[in-house]
């Protein structure tokens, strides 16, 4: 089977020859692996490791596209920047990390309506047509499954007002959050229509939507259903209306939200973060007939660079997860630079060996 056929079937839980293969990496990993002679700068991971799929992140959703990030403070290790969303974020300069949320211009509905909403137009300048075209053509030539990828509404709102003000808004001014989610979902659909009309459709849609942290989702299942799910359903229905399956990524513990996410229509859950409390076997048992899974292999075992630990993790999960033809091999987050290329190769080889049907 080609990668395109395999992932296409896995997302519908139809018979395949083996489980699928895909992975995410931290930015520093490639630099390190290039230095070690494992990869070339010009190569993609998909090419290098023969992944069944690839994806391209095409949209710039920052509110004010014309605003150059304003450097407020800079040290040897960090840089504090005010971005086009009016958010003040501190980033590490020397390595990859999640930025520190220092302050936000938008703390409530009024500020949102004044500073952000007027900028949210389906401006083609938001779209990287060329990058999308390039990866789409590479996937087409290599028979890989190609996904458009980008964030959905939860991940579009918090860069504007930060998690804290967004979550307070959910409790204190739910209409504001509902309207914001609806507007972002409409904008996203508008931009997808523009992109696909000009460049052609992908094989699937990949939404990144980190809705949990360790042991807890950011919101209750009821809040998810009331405020976020309608926008998810709208974008997923739009994709399904064009015959495109939807993969949804979420870091953190989101099992309590899963009934709503499945009802919203996702076809596949990715990344199933074990260290946050997610259990792929439990999820497979409960949702395996209606949901494909990608991930759920504890990346800490790969980081150990110990084959025995990797064997134990893979042997304990893959024979069960592959039942029902809906599983794709992937770590439960991203591969860091501390993983040796040799170890990663072993992880793939052993995982796919166990994943044969």
């Amino acid at each position: 089977m080609t990668g395109k056929e395999r992932i296409g079937n896995i997302l519908q839980r139809k018979p395949v020859d083996r489980i699928g293969l895909y992975e995410h990496f931290w930015d520093d990993t490639k630099k390190s692996w290039i230095q070690k002679g494992e990869m070339k700068e010009s190569e993609s991971y998909a090419e290098h490791f023969g992944f069944d799929m690839d994806a391209f992140w095409s949209f710039n959703m920052v509110a004010d596209l014309d605003k150059e990030p304003e450097v407020v403070e800079e040290t040897e290790e960090t840089i504090l920047v005010r971005d086009g969303n009016g958010a003040l974020l501190r980033r590490h300069k020397l390595h990859d990390s999640t930025p520190e949320h220092v302050d936000f211009l938008v703390k409530d509905r009024l500020a949102w309506e004044e500073h952000i909403r007027p900028f949210l137009t389906p401006d083609p300048a938001r779209i990287d047509f060329e990058g999308y075209r390039k990866v789409r053509q590479e996937c087409l030539a290599a028979d890989r499954f190609f996904c458009w990828s980008g964030v959905n509404v939860f991940e579009l709102m918090h860069p504007v007002c930060g998690h804290e003000y967004m979550l307070m808004g959910m409790a204190l001014d739910p209409d504001w959050i509902r309207e914001m989610a609806d507007l972002y979902s409409t904008l996203m659909i508008n931009l997808l229509e523009i992109l696909f009309e000009k460049e052609g459709a992908p094989d699937g849609i990949w939404f990144y939507e980190d809705m949990g942290f360790k042991d807890r989702p950011f919101m209750s299942p009821d809040m998810y259903r009331e405020l976020i799910m309608p926008a998810h359903k709208k974008t997923i229905d739009w994709a399904h209306g064009r015959g495109l399956p939807v993969i949804m990524h979420s870091c953190g513990f989101v099992e309590p939200l899963l009934p709503g996410m499945v009802e919203a229509g996702i076809d596949c859950l990715q990344v199933i973060e074990v260290k946050a409390g997610m259990d792929p076997l439990r999820i497979h048992k409960q949702y395996g007939s209606e949901l494909s899974l990608m991930g759920g292999i504890d990346v800490r075992t790969i980081c150990s660079n110990e084959k025995s630990q990797i064997d134990r993790e893979l042997e304990g999960k893959i024979p069960l997860l592959k039942k029902g033809f809906g599983f794709t091999l992937h770590s439960d987050h991203s591969i860091p630079e501390t993983v040796d290329p040799e170890t990663y190769r072993y992880f793939i080889e052993r995982g796919l060996e166990l994943g044969r049907y």
Binding site: L65, T121, P122, D123, P124, A125, T186, I189, N190, L191, E193, I194, E197
Partner: protein
């Protein structure tokens, strides 16, 4: 004894050529290229059959102008532009004492119309049909040719009269932007010709220059039922405005939008193109682009009269600017 009259058809059959070729040869027309041995074959066949040569009739002092149209469906249903223009031009020509011959030319089989025009000995041709124009140009036809709309090809050998289609796109886009619209569906047929491309590209460029988005929804310009159904089913739900290649596409969409529960212009603005007569009587009345058929007719007539009076004919391009007709829909 009664002797059957020899016809052109009899001679054509005997000589193995078409009746048109026989007519051209027997009328001594040297301006049309026909091989010498074919001419000889026609004369021999005529002689053998006993054809009596008659003196060619004197050319009428009333100059004849051929108007060559496209098929009548497009003329009457698709757009009012060509019909209105032709009607005004005919009136002007007839007032001046010129004869007008109107011919409908099939796009798929233009040759019979071409032969009819040849045999009519028209002094000028006004073509509303790009296929016919291209046939004339490819045949080296030397009668002055006036082409309305269509492509820019052949502007060195015929007189072209074009709508400023870039201006059409720009005016429509600016109007929608002024109304605060930011996401527009452009309902256009496949972008095959100059007219479609210029309207489309200028609209898109202008609209998107203000951080607004556009999508091309491709529909056949005569698929009125499909257009109505598309809108009725709410397919255009995300858009806040619609720009149509023609009013004939906009009218079924207006109905579809309203039966589908969307209010025009409160929920979405609609702008058509070419000022179809009935657009003023729809509810809401249709905002559109007036292409100024009367200006086209006046300009073409001036050039026709010039040629008849002093033989002057200047191939080239005349571009006429449209005007936005603001009504209720957008």
């Amino acid at each position: 004894m009664y002797k059957k009259r020899v016809t052109l058809k009899d001679i054509a059959q005997k000589a193995g050529v078409s009746s048109t070729v026989v007519s051209v040869v027997l009328n001594g027309r040297e301006d049309i290229q026909i091989a010498p041995d074919t001419r000889e074959r026609v004369h021999s066949a005529a002689k053998e059959l006993g054809y009596v040569y008659t003196k060619p009739r004197r050319e009428s002092s009333r100059p004849l102008i051929s108007f060559v149209h496209s098929e009548s469906y497009d003329q009457h249903i698709g757009t009012s532009f060509f019909v209105t223009l032709a009607s005004r031009l005919r009136s002007l020509c007839e007032q001046e004492g010129y004869g007008v011959q109107e011919i409908e030319c099939s796009v798929s089989a233009p040759l019979p119309s071409y032969q009819t025009v040849l045999s009519s000995r028209a002094r000028m041709i006004v073509s509303f049909n790009q296929t016919f124009t291209e046939l004339c140009l490819s045949q080296g036809h030397d009668v002055p040719l006036f082409q309305v709309q269509g492509e820019r090809r052949g502007a060195d050998r015929c007189s072209l009269y074009l709508v400023d289609d870039r201006q059409v796109g720009e005016l429509a886009a600016l109007r929608l932007l002024d109304q605060g619209r930011r996401y527009c569906a452009m309902i256009f047929p496949p972008l095959k010709g100059r007219c479609e491309q210029e309207r489309f590209q200028t609209f898109r460029r202008t609209f998107e220059s203000r951080k607004a988005g556009t999508v091309h929804i491709e529909m056949d310009s005569s698929a009125h039922k499909e257009i109505e159904a598309w809108f009725r089913k709410g397919k255009g739900e995300g858009f806040d405005s619609f720009f149509f290649f023609s009013d004939a596409m906009a009218l079924p969409a207006l109905r579809g939008l309203q039966t589908g529960g969307r209010r025009v212009p409160e929920d979405a603005s609609v702008i058509g193109t070419d000022n179809l007569y009935w657009g003023q009587y729809t509810s809401p009345s249709l905002t559109t682009l007036n292409l100024h058929e009367e200006l086209f007719a006046g300009r073409i007539f001036r050039d026709i009269r010039s040629f008849i009076q002093d033989g002057s004919f200047y191939p080239g391009e005349t571009v006429i600017r449209p005007e936005l007709l603001v009504r209720e829909s957008g």
